[in-house]
Each structure stands twice: as C-alpha cells, then as structure tokens.
C-alpha cells in the first residue's frame, strides 16, 4: 500500500494522501464540493447530504485483482446506484468523481430547498448575513424560489440563551450537529445535545451552568448559519463592514493566532473599534480554535474608559498631568540619580522589543532586571525547550507527553486541547498532579503526589526503583519524542525552579535533550514570560526587599502593588518610582512618574510562546491619544540617560535582538510574516468548509533553536526542593482561567463567568471538619493577612489544603500555613 492515491475529479487527475475524504481531495484539486455537516477537523457523519456526488470505482477481476478494461483500454468504472456523500467517502486508487453532472446539481438544489423549508429566511437581520454558508451556497446552487407555503412554516424561539455567552436562534439551526460534535469530540465537554427527534430536533444544553465549557465561542465560528452567535457580537456589525487585523492572543503562553475584526463606529465617536476576535489558522499553535477567554476578554481592556492618556508626574504629593517632555525629564533625572541602585520590574505581557529596550536601559543604569513572576525555569526552557522543528500536532504513537503540576486547561487551554489530541492519536500521556484535573481523563498513567513533591516526582522517573509504575517510567525512557509540560500548581519561585531543573535533568538523562520534537514547556503565567527570560529578566527572590532598597524603580507592564500588599508596602519605601502602564494601577498610584503605554492592539511587536515560537502582532486600531509603546518610552528615557535605543521601529529592535540573543539568531520581521500552505485549506471565501476562522496570511512565526539543539546539553544540578509546611491546614495557589486579573476583569462579556469575589475551594470532608458549608463566607488567615472568602466545595481537592485561586483577591505565592473559619456574624 502506498501513502498516496491518484484519482480523477471532474476530469482532473490528482494525487493526494491516502485516507483523505473526497471533499478534502477535491479541495486540493480546486474543486468545490459544498458541505454543511462536514468539518475538516471532525469525524465525518454524512448527515446533511449536501455533498452528494457521483463516485465511480475501477472494477477488478475477482481472481487476478487486475483492473478490468473497456475496449478502448481505459479502466472499467463501476458507478454507484446512488449518489454518495463525498464527506464520508475516502479516496481510493483509480476513483473517478463527478461533481458537475445534472444529477449532482439536482441533489444540491434539493437539499438546499429542504433546508430552506424550515429556515426563517431572515438574512437581512441575521448576524451571519454575508458570511453564512446557507446563504452563499443557496446563491450558488439553490432554487430561485421557494415552493413551501410560508404559512406552513413551524416557528421556533429565536432567542434561546445557551448560557451567558452564546445565543441560539432555533429557527435558523439546520441541525448539522457541528456544535454538538465540536463539544464532545474536540472540547471534551459534551454539554450540548440534540433533544427530541425528527423535525422537532433541537440543540440544547443541560449542563450547569448552561453551556459549561471554555470553548463555546468556537461553535459560533463553525456554525454554518446564524443559529449560534456570541453575546458580544450579536447585532454588532455586518461582516462586510469590518476589516481584519492579524494579532496574537496575549492572555496565556500559547499565543493563539487571532484576527481582530475592526470597523469605524459612530457609537464610539467615529473611532475604530474592535468588534470581535476570530481564530487565525496556525496548525502548529492553535489550529483554528481559541478559548473563550481569548475570544471574549482578549482586547476589551485596551478599549476601556480608564486608559491612561497623559503622562503624570507627582507634584505636591498629587499625580498631575504633564507634557511628555516634562515627564521624561523628571523620570530621567530620578533614574540617573539611582545609577547602580536602580531596579526595573517588567511583566511578561510586554513584547520582546519592549523588554529588550528596557533591559538595555537597565544595563546602562547598572540596575537589576527583575521579572514580575512567581514561576522560574525560563533559562532552562531556553536551553531544553521545544522550538525549531517540533509541533505538538506531530505527536502520536511512540511519543510520550508528561504533564506535571498543571491544571492545563485552566492555565493554557489550547495546550490542553493539543495534548488531548496527541493522546487520542496514540501518544502516551502521563499526568502527575496533586489533584485530578480535566487532563487526567485522557492520561494513560495518572499519579497524585502531595504538594511540595513536584521535583521529587519527576526525579522518580529516573530512578529505577520508583513507586510510580514501571510502565510509565519505561514510556518516558523509550519515547521517540518526549515533551514535558510543567506548570504552576502550588508553587512559587523555589518550587518551580526545582521542578524545572528536575525536568531538564529528565530530558538529559533519558537522551531527549536537544532532540527535535522533544523538550520542556513552561506553562507560564504570562504570554511572554519566555521572552522576558530571553531578554535577560530574572525573577527575584525577596522582591519586596529589593524594591524597598532600590533608589529608583522602573515598573513596566506589572502591578506589584495591586497583587500583593507586601509589595505595595515595599514600593512605598522605594525612593523613586517610574511606571509605564495602560491604567492607573495601584502601582501607578504610588509612582513619581507615570507614562501612558500603548496596548498591543495599537502597535507592532513580538511574543515568544512557551513552545519557543516567536510570533508577530500587528496594529489593529489607532493608538489611544498621547500614548507610546513601551519600547519607545524606554528609548526616549535612554536618550536622556546616554544610551542609544531604537525608538521607532520594532523590526529594527528585532534585528538587534537577533544579534544579541543567541537563540534568536536569524529571526526577522520578514521571516515572522512568512506563511506556507497549511491543511486543511481553510479560507474566507468558502466559509461552508471550516467556518469563520481566518486563513493565515500574515505569518506563522519562527520557532527558535533552543540551546541544547546546538549541543549545550549539560544537565543542571540535582534540584533541592524548598521546605514547605507539610501538615496543618495549608493554602495552596492554583490558577484559574477565569480569574479577576486586570485584563480579564475589564471584559463585560465574560463578567457573568468571572468569580464575583475571593473564593477558596476545599474538599467536602475538610469543609465538614472546619464546620463550613458550600457557599459560606469564611475568614482566611494567611501570611499575616485576613481575607473574606466564599467557600466552594470541590471533591477533587486533596484534604488538608485550601485551594486559593491566583488573582481573585487573596495574594498567595506558594504553599503556606493558613487558618480558615466561619466569618463572624455569618
């Protein structure tokens, strides 16, 4: 058997990979076969019957297996008695497909006519008008008029909320089942179902809350009609009024490729505004999906009313609007005075260009380059990461994926999806976590370890006599490719440092270090933490003390004061504080100088994702007045401090990065913008095929070459895990996708799904011991602070711990002893 087959479609011979459906093969031949229920990312079901074509197969002699021939020598073709669905038929050698015959045309017209009998024909008021498969295909293949009596139409509700984010119009639904299949096959959340049967078939949700999934928005992209719409875009704009702008989602380390749809809007005073987020195809990163956080909260913060639009300088104790010139002068003077005793604190949501300039500036001041994070290991991922030549989509049989200390769907949803898919393709999945999460469902081996034993658990895979199951150890040792995701669950800097070192050692000792396709992936809390490490920023042990001791602090893209009262107190002690920010954060309030920064939607730049892929984003809307990109602010400060930094062209900064940072050699803006053919062939003109996701025309990014690939594979020293409290009630930080972080909480759309106030989760038995019920208000005493929290029960929580989500109101960095009791007066 060969891996390709040759067939003829409408007279055109084409050779395609074996196993392809006729629809996909035709697409590669440039022949359009219309579909509704088929979607190239899901198993075909053959329900809608739109793709009926004539298929003939060569006849063979039963005895010899040879093709039978016509008199003229051509192969004899056996034509089916009926039309076949091209979405379920797989290509075979010598197959002949006809899509232009009268019979096929009649079938298409008939199926469309049937669909339209139940359709409300309300295109003029439909959000999908202009990008609706039913509309487009009807124009192309449908009947001109309807023979169905309008008064015979059954009417159905047109506004059925499937949860807070998605609205269903029952009349428009054509029952293709794409949304239901997406939720069960791809998202692993079977929260949608068909209800009733026959003509009464409906799509509904019975989950609690309704449509309980982080993936719901994708169903609106792949819905071929206007049946499913998002609450944020519904009645928002007509598709043809908007223009697309390529970007990258900046909410997690995956770096999903997205497209903003933008238009000028009277309601916004004639400003250009972003109307919605759609996925942009990158088969190596996010395929054609994005999570709901990225879709519904990815950009709103940039448009919020409270953006800073003027530089501020503290005068007589008050932050006062001033000119850029004055602010720059004041800041430069303050920084200059602190030469040798300055500290720059940068956040992982800055771009590589911002970070590079900030690093240069800090170096010029002989200052400390501090990264605002609780997770370590970026130096090791730069050395042992994935990078060039690897692609999670390639993983399958023979490969092993390890996920450790990560609630992957909460921390980096797309990676969860891709790990799940790799496991479904046959990769061995090993998950070690302190509690069960959603990824364990797909694991071949799942281990539970107690908090604090992360590094030890990884080391055990090197230890022959380990208790964690010989088969799993073998699967790690024997893996063709080994990919390890290590996350943030329950760990601060010391814990994650030890874990990262253990993972790196595992890669080295099992011979996977430096191998293409193998490597470690840090599930970072921020989108560009990796870039920040690469540009030279490092997390600081004892950040509070460092801040308090600094003569001058420059804070960019971080809000330490807002995150942690201890850091706020430390900043109060710092002598001089300069802040580059979008908003007047707690930190900015304490500053001496505040610069209004530009949002990523307003400018260019790059991020380096957790798989070591550098990706470029483009300006989508004009910048807010009086703002400047962080790299430019740094450059203008540099100008006054005697260091020449590029202030205008991020592409030029990237050229400098490529020279200065070894892993980035050869990365250019041109290379980042390159695209190549990706399958499936999705595209905007024929939405019927795969939905509204955008074809990628502006760059697939560049995967870095990790240092180990270059031979730098010395194993780090054996890690020593930090001491953490081992008994008594302990507070443990966990990451939730929907937290109350500064960016997410500015999304009105996502509000109903965000936690209202601080909460903690604990095991029902633990709650009982503490005399707490689900929903009770309790007081959490932790690290000297007391916090009012709502109690939620979670049977997956280990006993003895209180799960405290990060960024929902209780500052918590690593495992710490705590007390929890019913709030007085409750």
């Amino acid at each position: 058997m060969t891996d390709t087959v040759t067939l003829t479609i409408d007279g055109q011979q084409i050779t395609v990979p074996a196993g392809l459906t006729v629809v996909d093969a035709a697409r590669r031949a440039g022949v359009e076969i219309p579909v509704f229920c088929y979607h190239p990312k899901m198993e075909p079901v053959g329900m809608c019957r739109m793709c009926l074509v004539e298929i003939g197969r060569p006849m063979r002699d039963r005895a010899t297996g040879e093709f039978l021939r016509e008199e003229d020598g051509s192969v004899k073709i056996q034509w089916g008695r009926k039309l076949e669905t091209a979405c379920t038929a797989r290509v075979s050698e010598g197959m002949v497909v006809r899509t232009t015959t009268e019979q096929v045309a009649e079938a298409r017209k008939s199926v469309l006519e049937f669909l339209l009998t139940s359709h409300p024909l309300d295109c003029p008021v439909c959000d999908k008008g202009g990008e609706c498969s039913l509309q487009n295909l009807t124009v192309a293949y449908g009947p001109e008029t309807t023979r169905f009596y309008y008064e015979d139409k059954e009417h159905a509700p047109k506004h059925v909320p499937l949860g807070d984010l998605i609205i269903l119009d029952r009349e428009r639904c054509i029952k293709c089942g794409r949304c239901i299949r997406f939720q069960s096959e791809i998202a692993g959340d079977p929260v949608l179902t068909f209800y009733q049967r026959g003509h009464h078939t409906d799509v509904t949700t019975f989950s609690d809350p309704p449509f309980d999934s982080y993936w719901s928005g994708n169903t609106t992209d792949i819905c071929p009609v206007g049946a499913l719409t998002t609450v944020d875009f519904r009645f928002g704009a007509r598709p043809w009024e908007m223009r697309p702008a390529a970007s990258i989602c900046t909410l997690c380390p995956v770096g999903c490729n997205i497209t903003f749809n933008v238009r000028r809007e009277a309601a916004a005073g004639g400003k250009m505004v972003i109307k919605r987020v759609l996925p942009r195809q990158n088969e190596q990163v996010n395929e054609i999906w994005v999570c709901d956080k990225g879709r519904f909260a990815g950009y709103h913060f940039a448009e919020s009313e409270d953006r800073l639009t003027q530089p501020l300088v503290r005068k007589h104790g008050e932050l006062t609007p001033v000119s850029w010139e004055e602010a720059l002068e004041t800041a430069a003077r303050g920084l200059e005075a602190a030469r040798g005793k300055a500290l720059t604190l940068a956040g992982g949501r800055l771009s590589n260009e911002d970070l590079f300039n900030l690093a240069r500036l800090t170096d010029a001041l002989d200052g400390v380059k501090a990264l605002d994070t609780f997770m370590a290991g970026g130096d090791l991922t730069a050395q042992f990461g994935l990078g060039e030549g690897s692609n999670l989509a390639d993983l399958g049989k023979g490969d092993t994926i390890v996920v450790i200390a990560s609630d992957l769907e909460e921390e980096a949803p797309l990676w969860w999806l891709r790990v799940k898919q790799a496991s479904e393709r046959g990769a061995t999945l090993i998950v070690a976590n302190p509690r069960f999460t959603k990824i364990e469902r797909y694991a071949d081996y799942a281990f539970l370890y107690p908090y604090g034993r992360e590094a030890e658990t990884v080391c055990a895979f090197l230890d022959e006599g380990c208790s964690c199951g010989g088969e799993a150890v073998q699967a790690v040792a024997d893996a063709d490719r080994l990919v390890v995701f290590y996350g943030q669950e329950g760990m601060g800097l010391a814990g994650s440092r030890a874990l990262a070192a253990a993972v790196a050692r595992l890669l080295v000792k099992t011979g996977h270090a430096g191998k293409v396709g193998s490597g470690m992936v840090g599930v970072w809390p921020r989108a560009n933490d990796q870039g920040a490490w690469d540009m030279g920023f490092r997390p600081q042990n004892g950040l509070a003390a460092a801040l308090a001791a600094a003569q001058a602090v420059l804070v960019a893209g971080a809000d330490p004061a807002g995150d942690d009262p201890a850091l706020a107190a430390a900043l109060d002690k710092a002598n001089f504080v300069v802040v580059q920010e979008l908003f007047l954060t707690e930190t900015a309030r304490k500053a001496d100088v505040v610069f209004p920064a530009q949002a990523f939607t307003e400018r260019s730049g790059t991020y380096t994702n957790g798989e070591l892929r550098v990706q470029r984003f483009y300006p989508a809307v004009p910048a807010a007045p009086e703002t400047a990109p962080d790299f430019a602010i740094a450059a203008r400060l540099g100008e006054r401090l005697g260091v020449a930094l590029e202030a205008n062209s991020p592409a030029a900064i990237m050229r400098q990065i490529a020279e200065a940072v070894p892993n980035y050699a050869g990365v250019t803006y041109e290379a980042l913008a390159e695209v190549s053919e990706q399958y499936p062939l999705i595209g905007r003109d024929d939405l019927y095929y795969s939905g509204a996701a955008y074809e990628n025309t502006q760059g697939l990014g560049v995967a870095l070459k990790p240092a180990a690939r270059e031979g730098d594979i010395a194993a780090p020293e054996a890690p020593t895990a930090p001491e953490i409290p081992a008994d008594g009630l302990r507070a443990v930080p966990v990451t939730r996708l929907y937290d109350r972080g500064a960016l997410v909480s500015r999304s009105a759309t996502l509000q109903p799904r965000l936690p209202v106030g601080a909460f903690v989760a604990l095991h029902p038995a633990e709650a009982q011991r503490l005399g707490l019920e689900d929903g009770a208000t309790a007081t959490l005493e932790l690290n000297g602070g007391a916090y009012a929290v709502t109690v939620r029960l979670n049977p997956q929580a280990p006993e003895g711990v209180v799960l405290v989500p990060r960024s929902v109101g209780v500052p918590v960095v690593e495992v710490a002893s705590c007390e929890l009791r019913l709030a007085v007066g409750d």
């Binding site: 329900m47 008939s110 199926v111 049937f114 009596y149 015979d152 029952k175 026959g198």
Partner: protein, 420 residues
C-alpha cells in the same frame, strides 16, 4: 398447511411451557449443533436452506453469518424484535406464544458465530414481552440450556433482553445498536457493516425474530426438508400479517409463493361488507401501493415476484385497502407516520417528511390545489436516493406510487387553482 413450523403453538397450545417444548423436540437442535456440529457447519446448513431475512430486506441469513470478522472478538448476536412497521405483528405472536423456539434460534445463531452474549432488542411497547422472555430465559438457564459449559462443552451463552422506548427507526439495525448502547437511536454510516463493526464496535449478527425462529427446525430437520416449502429462490414459510379492510385479519403462516388472492380471500375471509378490493400494501406503511388487479392478486408472494409488480415483499405485512378508502387519505396517514418517526439525522428525510405532511394534510382536507399534488410528487421524488438510511426512502413509496397509480383520488379532492 399440514403442520405449523413457526406458529407451532397453534398445533401445540402449551409449547410456551418448557416441559412441553422439550417433549416436542425442544432444544434438541441446539444440543445437536453444540455437541455434534462445528460452528461453520451450522452456518453452512442455514446457508443451504436458503433462509432469507424476514425483517424486510430478505438478505440470505447463512451468508450474513459467514461474513463475521473472525479477527475481532467478542462477537454478538442480536435478535431484532423492534417490530414497528405499521401492519406488522408477527414477531409478537411468536414471542408471546412460541418463545422457546425463538430463543433456541438465538442460541443456535450465537453458537454458529461464536457469540457468548446475545441480546433481544424489543420495542419499548413490548414491555410485557420483555418480562415474559426474561422469565423464559431464566427457565432455560435453570434447565441448563443457557449458561456456562453448555451440554458439557466449553461453549457458554447468555441471552438478555433490552427494551427500547418508542422509536420505529430502532428497527434499522445500526440505529438499534446505537440504542442498545444507550444512545439516541440514529443510524450509523455503513460501511462498515455489523458483521465487521456492530454492537460496541464488535462483529455482530443481527436477525429478525421470525428469521431466527426458523433456525431450530432447519437444524433439526435439515436444509433439504426446509426447501420443500416455498419457491426455489424464496424457500420456506413466511408469516403474513394481514390487516386492513379484511374480514379476518391476523397472522398466516404460508409457504413463500402463496398468492395475494389466496391470503386475502381464502385465509383472510375476503373484504369487509363484500366491498371491492382496491389496493394492497404488501409491506406495511413503507410499501408501494399495488392496484388490486387480477395480475397483482395472482402474484406469488415471494422476494422475486412482488418487485415485478412494482412493490416489495418486505416484512410481508399485507394491508388491504378497499373501495371505501381514499388513497389521498391513506398517503396522509403514512406520511404522518414517517414524519413522526424520522430520526432527524439527515436533511431530506427530516425536512422532506415535514413538507410532505403539510402537503398531504392540505390535500386530504380538501384545501389543496392541483399544483400541491404536483409539488408533493416532486418532493417525494426529490427525497429518493438522497437519504442516510432507508426510512426516508420508505416515506416516499406510498406517495409516489399513490399519485402515479391512483391520481384520480387526489384530483377529486383538490381545486384546480391555488386559493392564494
């Protein structure tokens, strides 16, 4: 007929008692198969008998058993007791009155294909039959005809009932398997076919209740004996469920090849009130309508002859229509049935039956126009050849043949022009 082969309770009233069944040779065929025959020999004997599926399609039973994929285990056997085709009520009589012969058939089929587990799928309405069969199965277990190490061999078998919940489509074999797996009863893509990918994705033989009830007698008395009944290509006996405008509706066990005339006038006692016979639906609601001409009445009811008249034998549920019946009314009834039972999976059936229901409703109520009859006809034609499973196709049979063969019944009801 000299002797009943399927409806043996009509000869032996208490054959539903295990003792009585045994007295009349019960389970001897199963014993013979398990202890004296290789599984392949059992299949070969059934093949030789020429037995064809009685569930509707008439597929040769032995050939189906021989298709089982022997590289993939375990194997399953399913007895299709969904019996939901309007006009069909034969399997019910077998299971109610001659249950052991049917269960023995299931057992022999299971042995032949190497299944250690068999299911009897019953339509949800057969609540009482499920209970009844559970009891009969328990009796067989107690008597050592089901369980482990049967007849001292290493062959083991258990039979279970599974109750559906009201859905005609679950008679279609792949929808039935979905239903048995606890899902919505919607048909699966075929291929793969059940003998390679069936219940739980495993090779599965599925046969109609009546089909399986033939098997013990074939094994006991041999294929040659069986072939003495019926015709060359349609050997054996068949249960004809006779209903509609006849004096004596009921099940009639007759050799394949018996004529419609004999069934309706000799056995069925002719037409109610001596009216004139008008049309025949030979296979329940999914039949084509055959005008009751002498040629049709004298057609032998077998798998070859009925198609020549423009119909199908199907499950042989013969519904008789007399001159008092308007075909436009009848078509409204059948379309209503299929609209109600369409599973909704595929567009032409889901939307087409709905559209046809609206049109037949208009026409039958006298509100239709001539053009509605034309539309109805074209909608039915437009469904054909495009549906996912045969149900959609079934829904069009009476419509198309009704309009083609009894056009005057429609014209009599409609106005020449649409009223709008």
């Amino acid at each position: 007929m000299a002797e009943y082969i399927l409806l043996r309770h009509r000869d032996i009233p208490n054959i539903k008692d295990i003792g009585v069944y045994q007295e009349h040779g019960g389970f001897e065929a199963f014993r013979k198969a398990v202890t004296e025959m290789a599984p392949g020999d059992v299949t070969a004997e059934v093949k030789k008998s020429g037995l064809r599926g009685r569930g509707g399609a008439g597929f040769p039973t032995g050939m189906k058993w021989a298709f089982m994929d022997n590289r993939n285990w375990p194997h399953y056997v399913i007895a299709n007791g969904d019996e939901s085709e309007p006009g069909t009520f034969k399997d019910r009589e077998i299971m109610e009155h001659n249950p052991f012969q049917f269960l023995e058939g299931v057992a022999i089929a299971s042995y032949a294909v190497g299944a250690n587990r068999a299911y009897v799928y019953l339509r949800g309405e057969f609540w009482h039959i499920a209970k009844w069969l559970d009891q009969k199965i328990a009796e067989m277990e107690a008597a050592g005809f089901l369980g482990d190490n049967l007849f001292g061999t290493d062959y083991s078998l258990r039979i279970y009932t599974h109750l559906g919940a009201g859905a005609y489509i679950c008679g279609e074999e792949t929808a039935l398997m979905e239903s048995l797996e606890g899902k919505r009863g919607q048909p699966r893509l075929r291929p793969p076919f059940p003998p390679s990918y069936g219940l739980y994705g495993k090779p599965t033989v599925i046969n109609n209740v009546e089909t399986l009830t033939n098997v013990p007698m074939i094994i006991a008395r041999g294929a040659d004996w069986y072939r003495t009944y019926g015709t060359e290509k349609s050997p054996g006996v068949k249960l004809f469920s006779l209903s509609g405008r006849v004096n004596k509706p009921g099940n009639y066990e007759l050799p394949l090849g018996t004529t419609f005339r004999e069934l309706i006038f000799e056995h069925g006692g002719g037409i109610i009130d001596g009216k004139k016979i008008k049309a025949i639906m030979p296979a329940g609601a999914s039949s084509s309508l055959l005008p009751a001409t002498d040629e049709v009445l004298d057609t032998p009811m077998d798998y070859e002859s009925v198609p020549k008249m423009g119909g199908m034998l199907g499950s042989a549920s013969v519904i008789v229509l007399d001159e008092t019946v308007s075909i436009a009314w009848l078509v409204k009834k059948t379309v209503n049935f299929f609209r109600h039972e369409s599973c909704g999976k595929c567009t032409p059936c889901r939307e087409g039956t709905y559209w046809m229901e609206r049109l037949t409703g208009r026409i039958a109520s006298g509100e239709g126009a001539l053009q509605d009859v034309e539309t109805l006809y074209s909608v039915a034609k437009q469904i054909q050849g495009k549906t996912f499973c045969p149900l959609g196709e079934f829904s069009t049979m009476a419509v198309v043949t009704g309009i083609e063969r009894f056009r005057e019944d429609f014209d009599a009801l409609v106005k020449a022009e649409a009223s709008e």
